[in-house]
């Protein structure tokens, strides 16, 4: 289980502070909604280790992740855009970040990208680029998946397909996923449970 206990952060001495506490079970996708600037991305940055909390802990199955650097944390991230290096091929993008050599072709096949191994990501559509990123996430198989509005830039049909794929992988692999989005459709269709972020704190929806 992923547990975030009284995680506190403020961007400056006079800035308002955020206080986060939540739990995510294995195989669960926790949806977090909130207005722009409410702190959704801040929460993900804290879990990923891009920001250091002033107080609180992040535990995964009772292991404390808080002191770890980003690169040492068991996380994968999917952003809204820039999830791939456009100048590299799909295969190279999947291989990057893998701890041990894995069959990139097989990973790409799992996200329906057979035949695109040698394509440069710049030549792929937005949906295909997200699939490449998902194939890499699959290869890395880190227990925490952070989803930062990953479907916002996609058309409805592609977004539907991606949501389905993500749901299937999270369930199959038992990942702990947190999805932040201000798109209600993403949250209702994908999240197994939802929280709302208001005035720096999480509230049940």
């Amino acid at each position: 289980m992923l547990e975030i206990n009284k995680l506190r952060f403020a961007y400056g001495a006079d800035a308002p502070s955020y206080d986060f506490s939540l739990r995510v079970e294995a195989g669960e996708i926790l949806g977090i909604s909130g207005r722009s600037g409410s702190g959704k991305s801040t929460l993900l940055d804290l879990i990923a280790g891009f920001l250091r909390p002033q107080h609180g802990t992040i535990l995964l199955d009772d292991r404390d992740l808080t002191p770890l650097k980003t690169e040492d944390r068991p996380i994968s991230i999917l952003f809204q855009k820039d999830n791939v290096f456009e100048h590299l091929t799909a295969q190279k993008n999947v291989e990057l970040g893998l701890d041990e050599p894995k069959d990139a072709t097989a990973l790409l096949a799992k996200v329906d990208l057979t035949g695109f191994e040698k394509s440069r990501c710049a030549e792929l559509s937005g949906g295909q680029q997200q699939r490449v990123a998902l194939a890499r996430t699959l290869g890395r198989n880190r227990p925490i998946l952070l989803l930062d509005e990953p479907f916002s830039a996609l058309d409805d049909q592609t977004a539907d397909e991606m949501r389905q794929l993500v749901r299937q992988l999270v369930t199959e692999k038992g990942w702990h996923a947190i999805l932040v989005s201000h798109h209600q459709k993403d949250l209702t269709e994908l999240a197994t449970r939802q929280l709302s972020l208001r005035e720096g704190q999480l509230h049940a929806v």
């Binding site: 980003t70 690169e71 991230i77 820039d82 290096f85 590299l88």
Partner: protein
């Protein structure tokens, strides 16, 4: 008659606006302004070219010796310029990556110093290097005092030229590279770090792709600057073996008064420079100032990497700063006060400040006209109304590189010949040639700073301002000028400081009565008055750094629209 429902009226109005936008021709006065600048620059080049070729045709008989000399100059200029490019880009990339990955107090000062490297007068750099690495310089004195060692090396020759070019152009390259690295999207950094990329993988997959597109244009620019280098080669070259065309032209005019030889050398240099300029004119310039703010501390260097980068950065900083400190040390003396009151100094100072002010204003006007025209062209391309966009981009790009095709010495020689032919007073013409040459000198960098700001403004507000039917002047006053004021300040400061330190055209037109600060310094060095030269160098350095820092603030004063 049936009236349209309100929604239909609105839709018709939007359609009409879009139609107006789409039908807009790029050939408006804003575009024509840029074309006029291009035409005037071309006209100047052709006039000078015509005069030089005419003079070169009446060449004396010893043509084989002359052609051998040209090939020697071409070979040596190319070798030193090629090596300078290599060292400057390598040093620039190392410094930029180190500064980008390291986070320390005073980083903004390091960046400001690197920017100042762009405008350091070459004659000062040469003097500073001599003060550190020369016969009586700091290095030899320290080695002799502390270790009783007589170091046996000479800074004169190819080594000295490369050291100076690396110092000047390395800092220029580092500043440009740093801005490109800073433009890396934050999400890319987060992705790279979450993938636990090694320092080398970070360079290969994130930093190198950001740097690579800037290299061809930057390499061509540095190559041409070094190929046409004058003051550095004159002071550090150590004789004809390492001379460039510029130095050879200067010697032909000032020492031998052989105008035909000078004309032939100038014509040859023009041809070689144009071979490099023509393809370079179509390369896209990227912003030097505008970059997305990125959370760089999102991925600081790790421990071992940090120490290696810090060590390299300290070495490069020492190499960069010691010549400047040496100048300051030599300039601070009791003689300084006396020297400041001397008429020859005051006269040179007045001339330098006047020329710098006028030429900086001219640079800014030319850069604005060209940037506006390029923004119009880009907007028209976006709307699909541009005709022959590649051709016009090439045409509008040419004046930017005009100076490099026709450097100060060639331009100066052309006007020098015209002045003699028409019997005009050399001093009066010299003043205007200096202004024009210095304005053209700063134009490539001015364009690199201004054009992205204008294109960005056209991207964001082009359609809106067109649909509101704003005139060109209104667009400039209410949209472009407020959005590009910061860059305009930088361009003015750049033009001012470039002009303040230039020692090119003045080398042909300078006299006892008509002198600038760099010329005063050169003459002091030529007559072995090194103390006077040190004083001028110190004052010039202080003036350049102060102007480069202070002038942009004048453009940040906000007025109510």
């Amino acid at each position: 008659m049936t009236s349209l429902p309100p929604s239909a009226n609105k839709s018709a109005s939007i359609n009409a606006s879009l139609h107006t936008v789409a039908a807009r021709s790029p050939f408006n006065w804003r575009f024509l302004g840029g074309l006029t600048v291009t035409f005037l620059v071309f006209a100047t080049i052709f006039l000078v070219l015509f005069v030089i070729v005419n003079a070169a045709q009446s060449l004396p008989s010893n043509q084989s010796a002359m052609s051998a000399n040209i090939w020697h100059l071409l070979r040596m200029s190319s070798i030193q310029a090629g090596l300078s490019v290599f060292f400057a880009l390598t040093v620039g990339a190392i410094a930029a990556v180190a500064l980008y990955r390291l986070h320390f107090k005073g980083k903004c000062i390091a960046l400001a110093l690197m920017s100042a490297g762009l405008v350091l007068p070459t004659i000062i750099v040469a003097f500073g290097l001599l003060a550190v690495w020369g016969r009586a310089g700091w290095i030899r004195t320290t080695a002799s005092t502390l270790f009783d060692q007589n170091l046996n090396f000479s800074i004169y020759g190819l080594v000295g030229i490369l050291m100076a070019h690396t110092l000047l152009n390395g800092s220029f390259a580092a500043r440009l590279f740093y801005d490109r690295l800073s433009s890396t999207p934050v999400t890319k950094l987060k992705l790279g770090r979450s993938l636990n990329l090694t320092p080398m993988a970070r360079f290969l997959y994130l930093e190198w792709p950001a740097l690579k597109p800037a290299i061809p244009g930057l390499a061509a620019t540095i190559f041409l600057m070094c190929f046409t280098s004058f003051a550095l080669v004159l002071l550090l070259g150590g004789g004809p073996a390492n001379a460039t065309f510029e130095v050879a032209i200067f010697e032909a005019v000032r020492l031998d008064f052989d105008l035909n030889r000078a004309a032939l050398l100038a014509a040859s240099q023009l041809v070689f420079c144009l071979i490099i300029i023509v393809p370079a004119a179509n390369w896209n310039t990227k912003s030097m100032l505008i970059s997305e703010a990125s959370l760089q501390n999102i991925w600081p260097a790790t421990d071992r990497e940090k120490y290696v980068l810090a060590f390299l950065l300290v070495l490069l900083t020492l190499y960069y700063l010691t010549p400047l400190f040496a100048i300051i040390q030599r300039a601070i003396s009791p003689a300084l006060i006396r020297f400041l009151a001397e008429e020859k100094f005051l006269s040179a100072l007045r001339a330098s400040l006047t020329i710098a002010s006028v030429s900086a204003s001219l640079t800014l006007i030319l850069a604005i006209l060209l940037a506006t025209a390029r923004a119009e062209l880009k907007q028209a391309e976006k709307l699909g109304t541009a005709r022959f966009p590649r051709l016009f981009r090439l045409i509008l790009g040419t004046p930017i590189f005009a100076y490099m095709a026709m450097p100060a010495m060639v331009l100066g020689l052309g006007f020098f010949l015209i002045t003699r032919h028409l019997g005009l007073p050399t001093q009066t013409v010299g003043l205007w040639v200096l202004i024009l040459a210095n304005a053209l000198l700063a134009l490539p960098l001015a364009n690199a700073a201004l054009t992205p700001a204008y294109e960005k403004s056209a991207n964001r507000y082009g359609k809106l301002s067109q649909s509101l039917n704003m005139s060109g002047w209104q667009r400039f006053r209410f949209i472009e000028w407020p959005l590009s004021r910061r860059e305009a300040g930088y361009v003015f400061a750049l033009g001012f400081t470039f002009s303040l330190g230039d020692v090119g055209v003045i080398a042909l037109f300078g006299t006892d009565e008509f002198s600038t600060l760099p010329w005063l310094m050169y003459r002091a060095l030529g007559s072995y008055r090194t103390n006077d030269a040190a004083l001028v160098a110190g004052i010039l350095l202080a003036l350049v750094i102060f102007s480069f820092w202070a002038l942009p603030y004048l453009f940040r004063i906000k007025r109510r629209a």
